[in-house]
């Protein structure tokens, strides 16, 4: 079975391809010979091309051409992935440890979504801020930022439904997300609706395990009593030359979902490039 990581990147005013390159560097730095595919219609700088096993165009037409959030093409990942088993990562993530053992766990599933995420202090997030729609509408608490699928009937059906929901999101959200109706399509909300329609949430996630998961750095779910617009405004970021990442006073491990675009600086890129000899 071929296994690999897939990201989808579409530049807007933000450089998502650069994020994907950083994520790919972090995978190479911590995992042995990872296979990585980038789905993008944008140009990948030459110096980063070797990080990827393959770079493929977004299949069919670009449904996110007029969108700021660029999520409309996410359902195509299933069809564009060249692997039999795929871990899908958001581009704004750093992989900080060897996660190869996660494949063994994930191979027990046809499709797997993380339903638990953690703060930078490694405490489980109980998100009542960004997940109001999930709570109010009793949707499964899935995070698509990290998910896995095995090519086959189950995942194919799920993604066919995801296509349908994403392409008709106002219709489906009107039915399934009546409370806190989102202003724009969301891959997490859409995946949760599909899980509800297929009644499969207990088969595609596992609330008893801590990993696979990620550290979710949205600022209002860090357990702080004083709200803040950006987490970087409250705690410092320290990345050593041997790629040990500390946020505030907390060493990070696993997958770090930094969420804020300006986290990616030349300094961080250069530390990874130097480490990998790029």
């Amino acid at each position: 079975m071929t296994k690999g990581y897939v990201m989808l990147a579409q530049n807007s005013e933000h450089d998502y391809v650069k994020q994907a390159c950083l994520c790919a560097m972090s995978l190479h730095a911590t995992n042995s010979d990872p296979k990585i595919t980038l789905i993008t219609n944008d140009v990948v700088p030459e110096e980063y091309v070797s990080l990827f096993d393959s770079i493929v165009e977004i299949p069919w037409n670009d449904q996110a051409a007029k969108s700021d959030w660029k999520v409309e093409n996410r359902w195509k990942i299933y069809h564009a992935s060249p692997y039999e088993e795929t871990i899908v990562l958001d581009t704004d993530m750093l992989v900080l440890q060897d996660i190869s053992s996660w494949w063994n766990f994930l191979s027990n599933y046809d499709l797997y979504f993380t339903s638990k995420v953690f703060t930078y202090r490694d405490e489980e997030v109980h998100d009542t801020v960004y997940r109001k729609a999930f709570i109010a509408n009793n949707l499964p608490n899935l995070y698509s930022g990290f998910h896995y699928f095995k090519k086959g009937e189950t995942a194919h059906e799920f993604y066919r439904w995801l296509e349908l929901v994403m392409n008709n999101w106002e219709l489906f959200y009107g039915q399934y997300v009546k409370e806190h109706y989102p202003k724009r399509p969301s891959i997490d909300v859409s995946a949760a609706i599909v899980a509800k329609i297929l009644d499969c949430d207990t088969e595609i996630t596992n609330s008893k395990v801590k990993y696979p998961s990620f550290t979710h750095m949205k600022p209002l779910i860090q357990g702080w009593t004083h709200n803040t617009e950006t987490w970087q405004g409250r705690v410092g970021t320290y990345l050593t030359s041997n790629l040990k990442l500390t946020i505030g006073n907390h060493t990070q491990q696993g997958i770090f979902h930094y969420t804020e675009k300006d986290f990616v600086t030349d300094k961080i890129m250069n530390i990874y490039k130097k480490h990998l000899g790029l």
Binding site: R121, D122, Q222, G223, W224, T225, H226, R234, V235, T246, G248, N249, H250, T251, Q253
Partner: protein, 285 residues
């Protein structure tokens, strides 16, 4: 393996910590059946005021007399407060100064009323501390006791600590001394928004570092629960293991609720009210 209780008692101008230590040592003997050693910078005061101190304390360990390290606001009930010296800078020396292989380190204002601490000595973890404590008032804001500051590391109570003499614990207490000696630096790095040195904070930082700057298992949990009343409350009566407190009322400064509490050890932070109780009891002895 020798075992015992260790107390630090250094008086300031108005709070007689030595009297608390003397009184607590008797309760330690009564409830835990353990010897108590006291570390003080004023042995003469002990000799002059507590003639039988040698029969009460297992050891009196004398440290150099120094002036106050920090200033602290001491309340005596909700309406009275004083700013006094707080000599809390020698606690990191506990490992070096303790005469015991297994030490239960206590604040002198911990009023022992049960034998729960004996369980420390029969369990396998070499370092125990409370992460949570329970306020008898139940309405106050406890968020300051979750983390040492909003964005920083887990809060631990240095009030009651159990440790064995191990190389790992030696490192821990050496680290504590280092943190205390470089407090301004650690105060800044760990985003503590107060320059006042506090042992709870230093212990919390040291535990976090011992865990590799992440959650870990260096520190086990002390047995039972740590109950406390703040210095805005008053201890008004104590009979054996039965307490009566006046607990401040929410939104009504200067008014109190009466709470009776028994058969549990309580950290009584109002030193003045505790000393009044001790005075009463010693007068009756």
């Amino acid at each position: 393996m020798s075992k015992g209780v260790l107390l630090f008692a250094r008086n300031n101008s108005q709070v007689d910590y030595l009297k608390q230590a003397y009184w607590l040592a008797k309760r330690v003997d009564q409830y835990l059946g353990l010897p108590t050693s006291v570390i003080t910078d004023n042995e003469d005061y002990l000799k002059d005021n507590f003639p039988d101190y040698e029969s009460v304390f297992d050891n009196v360990i004398v440290t150099e007399y120094t002036n106050g390290f920090t200033l602290k606001r001491y309340y005596d009930g909700a309406l009275t407060q004083k700013r006094l010296e707080f000599k809390n800078d020698t606690r990191p020396l506990a490992y070096d100064l303790t005469p015991y292989d297994e030490t239960l380190l206590l604040d002198t204002d911990v009023v022992i009323a049960d034998s729960i601490f004996n369980e420390c000595f029969s369990q396998s973890n070499d370092f125990l501390i409370y992460k949570r404590a329970y306020d008898l008032a139940q309405f106050r804001d406890y968020t300051e006791f979750d983390y040492i500051s909003d964005t920083s590391v887990d809060f631990y109570w240095a009030t009651c600590v159990f440790f064995r003499k191990t190389s790992e614990n030696k490192i821990f207490f050496d680290l504590l001394q280092h943190i205390q000696e470089n407090w301004q630096h650690y105060n800044s790095i760990f985003q503590i928004n107060s320059s006042v040195y506090r042992n709870d904070h230093a212990f919390s930082i040291a535990i976090h570092i011992m865990n590799g700057y992440q959650k870990g298992d260096f520190a086990g949990k002390m047995p039972g629960k740590l109950f406390y009343t703040t210095d805005k409350d008053e201890l008004v009566e104590l009979t054996d293991n039965s307490f009566m407190f006046l607990i401040e009322k929410e939104h009504h400064a200067g008014e109190y609720n009466v709470i009776r509490f028994k058969q549990n050890t309580v950290h009584v932070m109002n030193k003045f009210s505790l000393n009044r109780i001790i005075d009463k009891e010693l007068a009756n002895d």
